[in-house]
């Protein structure tokens, strides 16, 4: 394999990996405060993309994206107010089934608001035919936007969890929810914040990938499945793990294409996931003790 090809596969892997990582981070945020996997996470990305596309018809692009992210985070809050809060003493299974139901409902609503057609946002810079030469490998300028914005999100989240009161309160919920409650943290509100944050990140991810991957009412599910795989691989609840897991899966997929038929791409990723889980059941970066304390 020539250097150019090698580089091309690396770039392709890292791009897809960072998209997966964004989805995984959304899973992790909600998991940390509630202990559930929010299967509607992919739908947040779809909603983000679709809303921004509609708004971009009469708003400048950055404003349309910002407004879309805000609106979808409100949807996240609504999900919590309307459903999660109303469950008296929900079991983990209750809540998971509820999020699966929600993901189906959101998809159907999107089908009725928009329609079955594929749409996409315009490229942030350049057009469909722009191409940037990096040492012989070629990428779309949009790839740089994807990498840049995911980097900023990860860094921003790290700062948020470390240095703000809300962020710290959410971390407290993650390590021990009863203790967090005893310290006077309103854990219910933290759940709302986590849903809003996850929805906002999902929506932003949905916007920045839209020019490349295109957006359709049912495009959330495949993304959610990949995001879930990555979250498990990196260790549930671990944001750095999600980034590493995403890039590992992305690179594996890209390089599997270079030697195997494309059809085996997903099989390769899943096989590696299984092997890692046999060796390290808590994921690459998950702590064994933490994994035991969680309800599953």
């Amino acid at each position: 394999m020539s250097l150019e090809q090698f580089l091309q596969y690396v770039l392709s892997g890292v791009t897809n990996g960072s998209i997966y990582a964004m989805a995984a981070i959304g899973f992790n945020i909600v998991y940390n405060t509630t202990g559930i996997i929010n299967f509607a996470q992919g739908e947040f990305a779809m909603l983000g993309g679709m809303t921004a596309i509609s708004l971009s018809a009469f708003l400048p692009l950055p404003l349309a994206i910002a407004l879309s992210v805000f609106l979808v985070s409100l949807v996240g809050a609504l999900v919590d107010f309307a459903f999660i809060r109303r469950l008296g003493k929900p079991t983990v299974l209750n809540m998971i089934i509820m999020t699966i139901g929600l993901s189906i409902a959101i998809r159907e609503v999107a089908l009725h608001i928009w329609d079955e057609k594929v749409r996409s946002l315009p490229y942030f810079t350049g057009t469909e035919v722009s191409s940037i030469n990096i040492f012989g490998a070629y990428i779309s300028p949009q790839v740089l936007w994807v990498l840049g914005i995911s980097g900023i999100i990860v860094a921003g989240l790290a700062l948020f969890f470390r240095y703000t009161l809300t962020g710290r309160a959410m971390r407290a919920c993650a390590s021990n929810i009863t203790a967090a409650r005893l310290c006077g943290i309103n854990t219910r509100n933290m759940v709302t914040v986590s849903f809003m944050l996850a929805a906002a990140i999902g929506a932003l991810a949905g916007c920045i990938v839209s020019p490349i991957t295109q957006t359709q009412y049912d495009c959330g599910t495949p993304l959610a499945i990949k995001g879930f795989t990555v979250a498990i691989l990196g260790g549930l609840g671990n944001s750095a793990g999600a980034v590493a897991g995403g890039i590992v899966i992305g690179l594996l997929e890209a390089f599997s294409i270079s030697v195997l038929p494309l059809a085996y791409k997903d099989a390769v990723a899943i096989t590696v996931l299984l092997i890692i889980l046999f060796v390290r059941p808590a994921g690459l970066f998950g702590k064994k003790e933490a994994a035991r304390l969680k309800e599953f």
Binding site: M1, S2, Q5, Q8, Y9, S12, G13, T15, N16, L111, D115, E116, K117, V118, R119, S120, T127, E128, V129, S130, S131, N133, Y138, I139, S140, V209, I212, T213, Q214, Q216, D218, C219, P222, E253, A254, I257, S258, P261, L262, A263, K265, D266
Partner: protein
Amino acid sequence: MSLKKVIITLLCGLVMPFAFSCKKTGGDAIKVGAILSQTGPASFLGAPEAKTLQMMADEINSNGGIDGKAIDLIIKDSAGDPEKAISFAKQLIEEEKVFAILGPSTSGESMKIKGICEEAKTILISCAAAEVIVNPVARYVFKTPQNDRLAAERIYDVMKKKGISRIGVVSSNDGFGLAGKEQLEKLAPSKGITIAISEVYDKKATDLTGVLTKLKARGVQAVINWSIVPAQSIVAKNMKQLNMNIPLFQSHGFGNIKYVTEAGAAAEGIIFPASRLLIAESLPEDNPQKAVLVKYKQDYESKFNEDVSTFGGHAYDAMLILTEAVKKAGADSEKVREAIESIKGLAGTGGVFNFSAEDHNGLDINAFEMLTVKGGKFVKYEQ
């Protein structure tokens, strides 16, 4: 009782007898079932097909039906799921006792219900392209879209004239993609074309830079993409991003201007075979299809305010063929079946149909025109 309620009750009283009388004369209406993927991954096929059928049925009924018999159209949404198509087919045949079934939209679904319709002696006019639907011939099964083989032949002919002999093929892993891949591989040797690499991608694929990098490394002179899914636009965009400046050929699945819009500047210069519907207005006046194409295009576009697509055209042809046969033979399914087989020179949107007992598709290689994209529009491809 409020005034509103009184009015509603009165209205109900007025309408009810009509409702019942409608039911009673139901024997006079011709029940036509349609199984279309209005939603789901193949919705870009099923949605325009359903709209087209409804539009045609309404038009026929407002003109007094066929020989005074109204068409009672029952559309079922299979969401592209073969299992749903099977249960709808059974429901339409056994419970609704339909006269004929139009659709399904996809080849996979059509193959699943081919046997069911044949056994129940219910006429099936499929809107899906795969040749296996009518080859081997089933007595009651017809289809309107052109055969994949003809599309593949047209593409190879253009390639030969351009001096292209070494190509890469990518196709989607659904019925349409796999059938096309098979035809391309079968025809290549006889046309002097070498397929250096043939890859299949997931029908929901959103990024194909990896596989295109592989094609690029094999030094192919052109790429053929065979699918009906949105990935058609992604292939075009990814190729430009990878700086692959070789011609991209697509299948007749590309005949939807939406995909051109999605691919934007990357769609320019794509070459593909398609029915003449896409260039209806610019056809010469003496083209036998011109009248029907322009009428369908204008009716559809003024009614639904969206661009017409060849897929809706397949449903148009299905309804056209059925109504022509019923006009000739009356509402008797065996006679109508024979009448369809005897149709000659019927100009539809997909081409001029010449059916026979052996040919249940009725179209030849002239049904396709090679088109290309210029300035965001479909135009005739000139060598």
